[in-house]
C-alpha cells in the first residue's frame, strides 16, 4: 500500500481548516482570552462605583448594563473572566503535572500500579461539591486553593490516559532497542516516551479546562468558590441570580459567557482527540 507522507504541521492546519466549528471555537477562546488579559487596560474604571446608576439594563452606553453598585457589567465581566480563566488554566496545568507523573509511574511499575489507580478511582468517585466543601473548610477559598482543588479533581483523568498511553509505548519495539542501548527505566520514560504521550494529554487537558470552568462556576455559585471582593463569572452569576427579578441580564450574561467558553474548549478538545487518534492509528 502506498504510504502518503504529509508533514505533520501541514496536516494540522489542514485539519483545522476543514472544520469551521473548530475555527469558530478557537476564535472565541482567543477573543475572550485577549479581552480578559487586557481588561485592566481596556476597562480601567471597572470599580468605579456609581450608585445612582445601579442596575441599569444593557444599552448603548452600558453594553452589559450596570451592577448593584453602578459599576459597568462589561468591565466586571472582563475582570472576572480573567480570574475564571486563570483558575481554570492553573487547574489544568496542575492536573497535567500531577496526572502525567501519576500515570507514567502507574504504567511502568507494576507493583505500585494498583495503589495509584485505585486512588485515582477513589478521587473520581468522590462528589465534587463534597470534596470542595472539605477542602475549603480546611484551607479557605482563595483562588490558589481553588486551583489546587480543581487540579486534584482532574488529575486522575490525566493519569488514566497517561497510564494507558505509557503502557502502549512500553510495549513498542523501540523501547526494546533503548533497553539494549543501555537506558534505564527513568530515562526511557521521561526522555523517550513522554514526548510521544504528550499529544494525547493535550487533548485531555483542553477538555479539563472546560470542566474546571464549569466546576469553579458551580462552586462560586453556591458560595464555596471565589469570594468577594474578588469576582469570577461564577460569583457574578450568583449575585445576578439573587437579583434576577430586578435585573434579568445580570445572571444571563455570565451564564451565556460560561456556556460559550465551555462549549468552545470542549469543541477544541474533542477535535484534538479525534485528530490525534487518527494520526496514531
Amino acid at each position: 500500500m502506498t504510504t502518503l507522507k504529509v508533514s505533520s504541521r501541514r496536516s494540522l492546519l489542514r485539519a483545522v481548516y476543514d472544520q469551521p466549528s473548530v475555527i469558530v471555537a478557537l476564535g472565541t477562546i482567543l477573543f475572550i482570552a485577549l479581552i480578559s488579559a487586557f481588561s485592566p487596560l481596556l476597562f480601567p474604571n471597572a470599580d468605579k462605583i456609581d450608585a445612582p446608576n445601579r442596575l441599569l439594563p444593557p444599552s448603548p452606553e452600558h453594553w452589559f448594563g450596570t451592577d448593584e453598585l453602578g459599576r459597568e457589567l462589561v468591565a466586571r465581566m472582563a475582570h472576572a473572566g480573567q480570574l475564571t480563566l486563570v483558575i481554570a488554566l492553573g487547574a489544568m496545568a496542575l492536573s497535567i503535572i500531577l496526572g502525567v507523573l501519576w500515570g507514567m509511574l502507574a504504567g511502568s511499575h507494576g507493583w505500585i500500579e494498583e495503589v495509584l489507580m485505585r486512588t485515582a478511582d477513589a478521587i473520581m468517585a468522590v462528589p465534587i461539591i463534597l470534596f470542595a466543601l472539605v477542602f475549603v473548610a480546611a484551607f479557605g477559598s482563595s483562588p490558589e486553593v481553588l486551583i489546587v482543588i480543581l487540579g486534584i479533581l482532574k488529575a486522575p483523568l490525566v493519569a488514566r490516559v497517561t497510564r494507558a498511553s505509557t503502557m502502549v509505548e512500553l510495549a513498542s519495539d523501540y523501547v526494546r532497542g533503548l533497553a539494549v542501548v543501555g537506558l534505564n527505566k527513568r530515562r526511557i520514560l521521561f526522555a523517550e516516551i513522554l514526548p510521544n504521550v504528550f499529544p494525547v494529554i493535550v487533548a485531555v487537558a483542553t477538555l479539563n479546562i472546560a470542566s474546571a470552568i464549569m466546576i469553579e462556576a458551580a462552586l462560586s455559585f453556591i458560595g464555596l468558590g471565589v469570594q468577594p471582593p474578588l469576582a469570577s463569572w461564577g460569583t457574578l452569576l450568583k449575585i445576578g441570580y439573587g437579583l434576577i427579578h430586578q435585573a434579568w441580564w445580570y445572571a444571563l450574561i455570565p451564564a451565556i459567557a460560561i456556556t460559550i467558553v465551555i462549549a468552545a474548549f470542549n469543541e477544541v478538545g474533542k477535535w484534538l482527540e479525534r485528530f490525534l487518534d487518527r494520526r496514531v492509528a
Binding site: 500500500m1 502506498t2 504510504t3 502518503l4
Partner: protein, 284 residues
C-alpha cells in the same frame, strides 16, 4: 475458443483527493481460463491496488480514473455496489494475507461460509450447511462436521487460511485473486497451503492472480509472471522464461537480489552497478 477470464485495458488508478497523484499507470492484463499469473512487485508497486480494483474493492480514498476491467465479459469499472456484489463470489473471489482480520471473529466459520453461499445462490440453510462442511473437508480442515461451528480464533493460522479459501471458492468463481495469502504463515504451513491451492485450482479449473513480493514463491505456483514496479507492469513472461532470461533490468535486479540455495556466499548479492541501474531498494 477460450475467452479471457480477465481483460484489463489501460487501467489508471489514482488518489481521489489529489488528481495529480497516479498510482497505476495504464496497466494491461489478460488471463485465460485455467491460467495462473503471478503479480510480483515490492510494496508500493501498485500490485495490491490493482487486484483490489479488479474486485471493485479498492479503498474509498482510491479511485479508478480510466480504463476497463472485464471479468468473464462483465465490465467492473464504474459499476455500483449491488452489481459488483452479484459479480463477486460467482465470477471472482479473493483471499487475503491476514485471515484473522478478514473473518468475522464473532460468528462461527460455518455460519460465514453459509452466508457466502446463500448470498449468491437460492439454497436452503440445510443444503448450504452441508456444502460448507464439504468445502471445509476439501480444503483440508480436520473433522469438518465438528469444526464447522468453531470460531475463527479457535483455528491456527494455517487452518484459518484454509477456511478463507473455502469461503472464497464456495460459489465456484472463475477467477481467484490471492493477495499475499501466505506471507503471514510459517514456511512449512506456506508450502502446504500452496499445495492445497495447486490442487484446488487444478480440480476446479480456476484462473488465479497470485499477488506477492516473493518471486520464488510466484515461480513455484504460477505459469506466468508479471513484474510490477511503480504502477506499471514492466515485464510479463512465462515463468521458466522469466527465470532463465529476464529482459527488464528491474527483473534482473530482483532475481539477482534473492537468495537461493545456489547463491554463492562469498560474493555480494547485488552489485552496486546493478542496484544503481535500477533505482530500486532504498537508493536515496
Amino acid at each position: 475458443m477460450d475467452k479471457p477470464v480477465l481483460e484489463v485495458r489501460d487501467l489508471r488508478i489514482g488518489l481521489r483527493a489529489d488528481s495529480t497523484v497516479e498510482l497505476v499507470h495504464g496497466v494491461n492484463l489478460d488471463i485465460v481460463p485455467g491460467e495462473r499469473v503471478g503479480l510480483v512487485g515490492e510494496s508500493g508497486s501498485g500490485k495490491s491496488l490493482l487486484s483490489l480494483s479488479i474486485m471493485g474493492l479498492q479503498p474509498t480514498a482510491i479511485e479508478v480514473r480510466s480504463g476497463s476491467i472485464r471479468v468473464a465479459d462483465h465490465e467492473v469499472v464504474g459499476k455500483n455496489e449491488k452489481y459488483l456484489d452479484k459479480l463477486r463470489g460467482l465470477t471472482m473471489a479473493m483471499i487475503y494475507q491476514d485471515p484473522m482480520s478478514s473473518l468475522n471473529p464473532v460468528r462461527s466459520v460455518g455460519n460465514q461460509i453459509v452466508e457466502a453461499i446463500r448470498a449468491h445462490d437460492v439454497v436452503s440453510r440445510v443444503a448450504a450447511r452441508r456444502a460448507a462442511v464439504d468445502l471445509l473437508g476439501s480444503v483440508g480442515v480436520r473433522d469438518p462436521h465438528r469444526t464447522v461451528d468453531n470460531y475463527p480464533h479457535e483455528f491456527s493460522g494455517g487452518m484459518r487460511q484454509r477456511v478463507m479459501i473455502a469461503m472464497a471458492i464456495s460459489c465456484e468463481p472463475q477467477l481467484l485473486l490471492a493477495d499475499e495469502p501466505t506471507t503471514a504463515l510459517d514456511v512449512t504451513t506456506q508450502a502446504k497451503i500452496i499445495e492445497l491451492l495447486d490442487d484446488l485450482v487444478d480440480q476446479r479449473g480456476m484462473s488465479v492472480i497470485f499477488v506477492t513480493h516473493d518471486i520464488a514463491l510466484a515461480a513455484s505456483f504460477c505459469s506466468r509472471i508479471d513484474v510490477m514496479r511503480e504502477g506499471e507492469i514492466v515485464e510479463t513472461q512465462p515463468t521458466a522464461k522469466l527465470l532463465a532470461a529476464p529482459r527488464h533490468p528491474y527483473t534482473r535486479a530482483l532475481l539477482a537480489a534473492i537468495c537461493t540455495f545456489d547463491t554463492d556466499p562469498n560474493f555480494p548479492l547485488l552489485s552496486p552497478v546493478m542496484a544503481a541501474g535500477v533505482k530500486g531498494g532504498d537508493n536515496a
